[in-house]
Symmetry: C2
Subunit: 188 residues, 2 copies
């Protein structure tokens, strides 16, 4: 993952995102991406070693705003919005490809998780801390397990049930997870 992407890199990532709407990850080749982006294969290899790496970058590029939080809004509102956007992102070609790549390439998956997903989870933890301070939720709770139980069902529904979690499902899930910790008299 590059900190700052050049215009050409963006073109390549957009080409990957488009391509994955039309074909499966396993069938996608670096050559397909190169043709679509109008660059040589060597240009792609300059930045990415393997097509799985391009998928990680494309997913990160595509989901930049998915993980934005609004600390002025309630915890419930933030989680509902984020999960809905995440569900949408995972249901698209590049999101499906990410799930394949995560399952298949253990090592680069670990790197992607550390560099991209973990910092975003830390941001959610900051929001939780903030919610504790403003007496929206109780302070003593197994928050790490809670986050797993909140985010994992999205991937589970997509991979195992072949269903994209919609607003109704996500609203139920957030209620299920938050109800035990919400302090009832808090503004919401």
């Amino acid at each position: 993952m590059e900190e700052k992407c050049s215009r050409k890199q963006h073109e390549i990532l957009n080409a990957v995102i488009e391509a994955l709407e039309e074909m499966e990850y396993t069938k996608l080749t670096i050559e397909d991406i190169a043709i679509r982006a109008g660059v040589g294969k060597s240009t792609i290899y300059r930045w990415w070693k393997h097509k799985s790496d391009v998928v990680f970058s494309a997913f990160a590029y595509k989901t930049e705003s998915v993980f934005d939080l609004d600390f002025n809004q309630s915890l419930k509102f933030n989680l509902q919005q984020q999960l809905l956007k995440l569900s949408h992102a995972l249901s698209q070609g590049v999101g499906r490809a990410l799930l394949v790549v995560m399952a298949e390439h253990r090592e680069s998956a670990g790197k992607f998780f550390q560099q991209y997903l973990l910092p975003r989870r830390e941001l959610v933890k900051k929001l939780l801390q903030n919610s504790i301070e403003r007496k929206e939720i109780i302070a003593d709770y197994p928050f790490d397990i809670m986050l797993d139980s909140l985010y994992a069902p999205l991937h589970y529904q997509i991979i195992f049930f072949n269903k994209i979690p919609d607003e109704v499902y996500i609203s139920k899930l957030v209620d299920f997870i938050l109800n035990p910790i919400l302090i009832k008299n808090s503004a919401e």
Copy 2:
């Protein structure tokens, strides 16, 4: 998934399980399996159309006893045992391969889910019903969401965190999920 497997089919499934301990799913070929099982490729194709189908059968064969429940034991005990066995199964070669195949082959994943996983989920629901009747847990609860929040973190931890949930993690997870619904004076 065959209802009853012949000895030769078992040999093929064992060959797949062994092979996946040594190599990644994507690198595995039907030929590898045939050589290992000491059969011709056509024998394999007689029962399975694609290597992903063999992986589904191998996982089902390997995990037959994983989903056994003991209705004489507490809900908590059953869930802890099942999740621990499931975590172990998913951490082995054939389990990792299953996660790749589920992410990659949407259609056959749906079939596998319907034929193998869903009936086992229904069995857990029967156990829940039983636990309600014996006043171990409350009756009114979003049990479907609860099951997602209980099982999904296993796959999530394996795929995203690259961690195999151990006894400590699973015990915390089961407590987290069950504490809100346990009726305190029930024997456990």
